[in-house]
Symmetry: C2
Subunit: 330 residues, 2 copies
Amino acid sequence: MKQTYEPKIAPIIAGYGTIAGPKEGEGRFAKYFDNILTDDKMGQKSYEKAEGMLYMAAANQALIRAGITAEELNCMTGGDLLNQIISSNYAAREIGAPFLGLYGACSTMAESLIAGSLMVGGGFMDRVLCVTSSHFSTAERQFRMPLEMGGQRPPTAQWTVTGSGATVLSNRGPGPHIARFTIGRVVDYGVNDANNMGAAMAPAAADTLAAHFRDTRLPLDYYDCIYTGDLGRLGLQLLRDILRADYGMDLGDRLHDCGNEMFLPEQDTHCGGSGCGCAAITFNGYLLKEMQYGNIKKFMLVATGALMSTTSSQQGESIPGIAHAVAVEV
Amino acid sequence: MKQTYEPKIAPIIAGYGTIAGPKEGEGRFAKYFDNILTDDKMGQKSYEKAEGMLYMAAANQALIRAGITAEELNCMTGGDLLNQIISSNYAAREIGAPFLGLYGACSTMAESLIAGSLMVGGGFMDRVLCVTSSHFSTAERQFRMPLEMGGQRPPTAQWTVTGSGATVLSNRGPGPHIARFTIGRVVDYGVNDANNMGAAMAPAAADTLAAHFRDTRLPLDYYDCIYTGDLGRLGLQLLRDILRADYGMDLGDRLHDCGNEMFLPEQDTHCGGSGCGCAAITFNGYLLKEMQYGNIKKFMLVATGALMSTTSSQQGESIPGIAHAVAVEV
């Protein structure tokens, strides 16, 4: 089963933008973010409204860097963690571009880049905006517990990143490009702990990584670095174990995880960052900027998603995972 | 702003399948459905589990008609109304194909056909499965009230269709094809009544229809028929009014609505059908079969979605709408 595709027309990364929350702005990637919030409610009445503003801010930053206006977009594609992807829908209403809504949980940054690559790389469109966001306070109350409860977080828990990242893909111009992408499958090893997302997603990341190297026959050391989305400290360890045991693959110190590196140990996030925003601000912040500085020539983002639903969890279902990969080269 | 695209490689409709609930099976399109349920819980413990089975059944029916197995799929793409599109995720887990999850509310049938057209029409893939579903009992309790409450439905209410439809797109073989598609924009006229979806979606349908005929310069009588998704009786009337008043367009008796025609008047559904399944079973049931019988040569589906969220509604937001169009020709 082939899962990896190389667009004939290279989707060029014409612009990108990030905005991050206060906690993320004190983390390891702080200096790479375009904007850092001091108030994660952004003066709004609800965190949901604040997340919508994050989304718009990242989108606008990417448009500015690409030197285009929203009217020049052929399409916007993206999603977020909230039910009915409301942050995306309300942002799409403001931006006014044709919109394809996605749901891939925390894999959405890669999923939107794949959708954008299909549009640009298939010769349909000239300029596409790919966006996603997450917010600690909207995600916690939707998926876990009311923040006001002050519940204790178990050691396997991850911290949903407050932030948004956006990328403009174009069929022309200078800049790095999406060299190839791998569409992930839904993989489920039976994990049903909403506070152990890394374990739920690691098998999907392994499946997609194995598919990518099987399809492309590239050597395992081809990329300067590979960043999985938000497996966190434990999930990354599990991924290494699964890759070794089930696929005989060892990616060594080229393999990193956005969630594992997002926060500093003293920030007390337990297993690290998670959420759509985690991969989004690492990709559009750290990775693309390091590429711009000439420190990275080829990398792959393998954004991972835990397709968790409170309804199906209550009905005894486990949490399926998915991971989509996009490889970027200068 | 161009919103309409013609795939250079025509995405051929190689297979399609439908399954419908008991009430839909007594409606106007009954004879066109492949399978009609007698028990809409399908012997499951929850309606959510039943909806997942609907999804699988439609997908399998489409694969059978296309004469392929799930292993031969390059990708599956789709979504549903449930939070985190759980019906789709669990079906994707069983089917095992690479999966791109979508969220477009009731516009998902057209959105998935557009995503599939990008994959096949852009030269990336050979065979893609596009699916969506909805279930009256899962949607009502998620978006409105517990069924057990027995609340009275206002005259503007529509009835969420229990059903699922699936389409296999291929780059070869006989069969009708997706001639062109129009990606919709998020349009919001400020409607905030969760029991008046037709009014929330009609402006989006008008916007997409106007964009389609503006982009293609096709005469308004080009298609044998145009079916909007699930505007219902009132929404269809509003669409006619908006088209006439804002765009000077009159599509006359070529313009129909899946929701308006799904049920018979004596079935007491007030304004008609709605839900992802409404457009899905009309498209994969009535429209494709009438095309197979030679009674329709060219038609367009304009599936409409109300991007409603209980969270944002409670926070005073209105309900944005979206509509995506796919034109099918023999």
